[in-house]
Every structure is written in structure tokens, then in C-alpha cells.
């Protein structure tokens, strides 16, 4: 993985001092709260329902053993012994004190980490496919470009006061695990007809109150031009994105209002101008320097068949886990292992300090010192020898981290909701927990197949409800929590925005309603299609009939 050189390290140290000075000025009253708020947000510091919350950048979701251990240390020393992995592959601590934040930043800098631009109206943490560098069929490891974009966007002087936040994601395979079409800019690494590697650039995707699938803007951007192209998109946005209405300020509004052709034309004009200057051309040497950090570990030459693995499959628990939580690795004899943070009844994405330390040990023992955070709020050991999997699983079981549900109905994406968040209208965690409990039977989950439930506690859609096969949105109805169901969303390569099913449900009705949706699917499905496929084939009406008809019956 990427390691800081003296310049990266100095940058982060300077930032620690800079933020410490901002905190000092705030405490002395030299900055008002109105002035301090955007400054602290640019450093990932929120004031939430109960306390401050600090969001730490995990660039493209990659962490080292040392960094995991530092999270555990910070969780114990400054927080309440746990942290939360987010849908931007970041880590959040929910209980830091403002006066401690400079010390936390310094502890993070010790392990090459920071909170730079994890909030605020600037370019946020770049996300990427969690299987980068491990999965077959990848054109190029997306983390190479992600790191280049991370450096280019860090303290970009022109783009730190954008109309609104700006999120970039990169995918290196046809399968999209990074939800690129729901980003302000989504980059897909492709090959053109001549066999050259370059980038397809989507602009204007997003969720929130106006969900959009991104428009295809750059058909094929050459590798050396990508920063110039990104700079062009950002400049058009900075100049013409709306600033009069916070709800219309994202680039998705500008791009969809102008339309793909006009937006592309404006970007191309800007791009040509920037190229004339020539200073943003990316030298091949720098690309190679960064790529070298992401060179795969020295894999052993192994047979893909592993007697240890095959023998372990006789254990039903292991077999179930292997079925959902393992993904084929590009190297024979290796596997990609997903560690689910969706234990039945736990908070999706939460992890205790003890678990962080224990997982760090597993990274040491089985995982080449590396782990990934997924936007679905799980962890991934990208390179595990198949013969080590039974021992890994046994250890995960002891840690209560062996839940075999990756991609199944209980693997729910869920924002912190009204339990923590100042913006939320309703709680989301307790609803996720109740759904998990209702569907805890593993055989039933397997029968339902891939089924993505995504839930947000407010219209801002941090829980990606628009992209859920089943999406749940918490709303406030006169001070009482209420939940709307959406069907048909997808954050994958077949991206789509879910459609609202109908009137919402109270907190004591929503789990039953979800079960009726699932029952309707079982009634309607043909062969092995997923709920998403059934929905796309039959539309909303049959689902709606079954879900609301039974509700009427239940009332009598």
C-alpha cells in the first residue's frame, strides 16, 4: 500500500498544527462558531446529537495493521471503546472532545493518517473497489489513480470552497463495487479499441433528496490527462454550480440541468485550456512510482485446490461462510475474505477496540498486513491463502466476526440515524437490527439470494437507500418516526434509483412490511432471479398490491 514520503508526512504534520491553531482561536473566541464550523468540517469534525464526531479518512478503504491498531488505541484513549466504519470507507469516532482533537490528529499522523477533507464543501475521500488488486478481470488497480487523485485534491487551493461537497470513486473492473454512478465523479478504468488503458468519466450521480444516476461525460480520457480533465469538471462546477440553494448545489443538479452534451462541451473547452498550460500532465514516472506501492505482495505458487479448505467445508458453518463471504482471487490458492460487520442485532459498521486489535492480528497472521473497508460497511482481507481459511474462520468465530451474510438480506447498509446524527429524522440502527433478527435464519437468507437493504435516517441518504434493492428512508411525521420503502435501486454496474412504494410505515410496522415485500418477491420470482430482477420484470404494482392488501387484511 501507499507509504508517505517526507513531503506527504510534512503535509499532514502541518495540517495538525494548522488545525490545532484553529481550535485554539475558536476556544479564545477569535473565530465565531459560524466561521469555525466550515473549518472544523474540512477536518471531519462535526457537532452531532450528543457530542462531537470525528471522521478519519481511509483513502480508498485500504488500511495497514499499524493503522488498525491505532484506531483501537484512539477508541480507548479518547472515545468510548468503539468506532464506526462508514459508506465512504472511512472511520468515525462518535465521542471525541474538541480539546482532544489536536492530540488525536497527531496520533493519526504517527501512522500516516489524517482527517483532511472528510467533510465540508471540498473533494472528499476518494473511494474504490474493496477488491482492488485481488480480484480477477481488473484492468488496473483503481487505488493507483485514487492515490493520485487524493494528492491532487488535497488542499487544492481552487476547490476548497465549492458550492457543495464533491465525491469521487474509482473502479477497475466491469463489475462495479464502488457505486461509481452515484458519485459526483465516477471513474471506470477501461481499455479502448487500440488496447490502451484510460478512463471513462461519469459526472453528476448522487443520492440525497434528488437522486441521479451519473451522466457519461468523458468517453475515454487518456491516463496522462486525467487530472486536467478532473480539474476541468471541478472548474465548471465551481464557477456555475448553484450557490443560492443548498439543496440544488451539487454538481448533479448542474450537470442534469445542462444535459450531458452541454456539460461535456463546457468541460471540453476548459480541458483544452488546461491542457495548453501543460502543468497538469501526469508524468509516467510519477504514475509508476505510485503504482509500485500497490504492487501485489509476493504470492506463493500454490495449487488452487486446498485439502485443508475442502476438509473444512464439511463444517456447515464454515461452508455457509465460504458461500457468501469468500470471493475468487486472481491468484490460484488464494481467496478474498469478507469480514461481515453485520452481526445479527449489532450496529452495522460498528467495531470495538478489542475487535480492531484482534483483526489487526489476523491481518498480521493471514493477510499480508492489509485490510479494506467496504462502502457496504464490512471489512475485507484481500489476500488469504485458501489453506489458512479454516483457521481464519475459527478465529473470527471466537471474535463474533464470522457472520455469514455478505450480500444477503441481513447485510444491511445503515447510517447512524437519529441515535447519533443531528440531521436525522428517524432512527435507522434499531430498525436494521429488527430486520436482521426477523431474517436471522440462514437458510431463509440463502433462499432469498442477493438482496441489498439500504437504510437512511433522513433524506440526505448516507445509508444509500436510493440504491437499495429495498431502500428504507426514515422520516419525521409530527415528531414520530416513520419509514418509507423504495424498491428497485442498485448501486452496482446496473445502477438505478429506487422507486417509492407508497405510504410509509410506523416503527412497529416497518419490519412486517419488509417481510411482506420479501414474501411478495417469493410469490413473483421466476427461477433464480433476484428481488431486483423480479422488480424490474414485473414493476411496482404487484409488489404494492401484495404489501398493502395484506396490511388492509391485517387491519380487519
Amino acid at each position: 500500500m501507499y507509504r508517505y514520503d517526507e513531503f506527504d508526512a510534512a503535509m499532514v504534520r502541518d495540517r495538525v498544527a494548522q488545525f490545532a491553531y484553529q481550535v485554539e482561536r475558536r476556544l479564545k473566541g477569535e473565530l465565531t462558531e459560524d466561521e469555525f464550523k466550515p473549518l472544523r468540517l474540512k477536518n471531519g469534525l462535526y457537532l452531532q446529537l450528543h457530542s462531537y464526531m470525528l471522521r478519519i479518512a481511509v483513502p480508498y478503504g485500504t488500511l495497514s495493521t499499524r493503522q488498525m491498531r491505532q484506531f483501537a488505541y484512539i477508541a480507548r484513549k479518547y472515545d468510548r471503546g468503539y468506532g464506526h466504519f462508514t459508506t465512504r470507507q472511512n472511520m468515525q469516532f462518535h465521542w471525541p472532545k474538541l480539546v482532544d482533537v489536536p492530540a488525536i490528529l497527531s496520533d493519526l499522523a504517527d501512522v500516516e493518517m489524517h482527517c483532511i477533507q472528510t467533510s465540508g464543501n471540498c473533494v472528499r475521500n476518494v473511494t474504490a473497489d474493496q477488491f482492488a488488486g485481488a480480484v480477477a478481470g481488473e484492468i488496473e488497480d483503481p487505488r493507483i489513480l485514487s492515490e493520485i487523485v487524493r494528492q491532487w485534491s488535497t488542499f487544492h487551493p481552487e476547490f476548497n470552497y465549492l458550492p457543495r461537497k464533491f465525491k469521487i470513486a474509482v473502479s477497475g473492473t466491469k463489475e462495479d463495487r464502488a457505486a461509481v454512478k452515484f458519485h459526483d465523479i465516477g471513474i471506470e478504468i477501461i481499455k479502448n479499441a487500440a488496447g490502451e488503458t484510460g478512463y471513462r468519466v461519469f459526472v453528476g450521480g448522487g443520492m440525497g433528496r434528488t437522486p441521479y444516476v451519473a451522466l457519461l461525460i468523458g468517453q475515454f480520457v487518456a491516463k496522462e490527462d486525467i487530472l486536467a480533465y478532473l480539474e476541468a469538471v471541478l472548474r465548471v462546477y465551481n464557477e456555475y454550480g448553484r450557490r443560492d440553494n443548498i439543496h440544488k448545489a451539487r454538481v448533479k443538479i448542474l450537470a442534469h440541468q445542462l444535459g450531458a452534451d452541454e456539460f461535456r462541451r463546457q468541460v471540453e473547452v476548459e480541458f483544452a485550456e488546461i491542457k495548453k498550460g501543460g502543468t497538469l500532465q501526469l508524468p509516467a514516472e510519477e504514475m509508476a512510482r505510485i503504482a509500485a506501492y500497490f504492487a501485489p505482495p509476493e504470492f506463493e505458487v500454490l495449487s488452487d485446490a486446498s485439502p485443508e479448505f475442502d476438509a473444512a467445508l464439511k463444517d456447515k458453518d464454515f461452508a455457509n461462510w465460504a458461500k457468501t463471504n469468500l470471493t475468487a482471487h486472481k491468484i490460484p490458492g488464494y481467496a478474498i475474505a469478507t469480514i461481515s460487520l453485520k452481526m445479527i442485532g449489532a450496529t452495522p459498521g460498528d467495531i470495538s477496540a478489542d475487535q480492531l486489535d484482534a483483526v489487526a492480528q489476523l491481518m498480521d497472521n493471514f493477510g499480508y498486513d492489509e485490510i479494506r473497508v467496504t462502502h457496504e460497511q464490512n471489512l475485507v482481507l484481500p489476500h488469504v491463502r485458501k489453506k489458512d481459511l479454516p483457521r481464519l474462520f475459527a478465529r473470527l468465530k471466537e471474535l463474533n466476526l464470522s457472520t455469514a451474510n455478505a450480500g444477503l438480506i441481513t447485510d444491511i447498509i445503515c447510517c447512524p440515524g437519529l441515535d447519533y446524527c443531528d440531521l436525522a429524522n428517524a432512527r435507522s440502527i434499531p430498525i436494521a437490527q429488527k430486520i436482521q433478527e426477523r431474517f436471522s435464519d440462514l437458510e431463509r437468507q440463502h433462499n432469498l439470494g442477493e438482496l441489498k437493504i439500504k437504510m437512511s435516517g433522513c433524506i440526505n441518504a448516507c445509508g444509500h437507500h436510493h440504491a437499495g434493492h429495498i431502500g428504507i428512508l426514515g422520516v419525521d411525521k409530527k415528531g414520530v418516526e416513520f419509514y418509507q420503502i423504495q424498491l428497485g435501486g442498485s448501486g452496482a454496474e446496473d445502477a438505478s434509483v429506487g422507486e417509492i412504494m407508497g405510504p410509509g410505515f410506523g416503527k412497529d410496522e416497518i419490519v412486517d412490511a419488509i417481510e411482506r415485500v420479501v414474501d411478495a418477491y417469493l410469490n413473483l420470482r421466476q427461477s433464480d432471479e433476484r428481488l431486483l430482477d423480479t422488480y424490474r420484470r414485473v414493476g411496482m404494482a404487484p409488489f404494492k398490491n401484495l404489501v398493502y392488501r395484506e396490511q388492509l387484511h391485517a387491519a380487519y
Partner: protein, 98 residues
């Protein structure tokens, strides 16, 4: 005539973010000790007085919210804010002020 709803005044302490409530010209941490204002006039007067603490950088985000006759909050949000996350009873005020 408008219905009179009792209110409580709240804020977050700047230094550490702790949720605090107004009581007799100062701030307390426990919801149970919060002063209940029977009418708009007394509530608005407290909110105005609280601005001095904002100016002195002691608290931020002051606001009033409605409560019932027994002093319990009307909105779910304030119930959770007064206690702590409903999914983590070991954290927040609920873990301290039992």
C-alpha cells in the same frame, strides 16, 4: 388563544460537545435537572440570557424545545439526545445519570 406548551433550553458545551440544559442562569448536564419554562415569555428570556454564554464561547447551538406537562420531550430526537443512543445504553447520559 395559542396553546401554551412548556419548553426546555438546551445547548452543547464548546470544549467537549456535552449536551447541557439551562437551569437558573447556568447549565447542567442532567436532563432531570433542567428548568422547565411554562410559557414563551420565560423561555425566550432564558434563551436571550443564554446568548451571553455563546458570546463567551462556553456553549454553542442554543435552542428551545417543547416538553409535556411531566417534563418529558415531545419529539423522539430530544428523548434520544437526553439519554444517549438507544442502541448503546452504555454510552451517553443514560450511562451516567441513572
Amino acid at each position: 388563544m395559542a396553546k401554551v406548551v412548556p419548553q426546555i433550553l438546551t445547548a452543547n458545551r464548546l470544549r467537549d460537545g456535552e449536551v447541557v440544559y439551562w437551569r437558573d442562569g447556568n447549565w447542567v448536564e442532567a436532563y432531570g435537572e433542567a428548568q422547565i419554562f411554562p410559557d414563551d415569555a420565560s423561555a425566550d428570556a432564558a434563551l436571550a440570557a443564554a446568548q451571553d454564554f455563546v458570546k463567551r464561547n462556553i456553549v454553542v447551538a442554543t435552542y428551545l424545545f417543547d416538553v409535556r406537562a411531566d417534563g418529558s420531550p415531545v419529539k423522539e430526537r430530544e428523548i434520544i439526545r437526553a439519554a444517549g443512543p438507544s442502541v448503546r445504553p452504555d454510552t451517553g447520559k443514560q450511562a451516567r445519570h441513572v
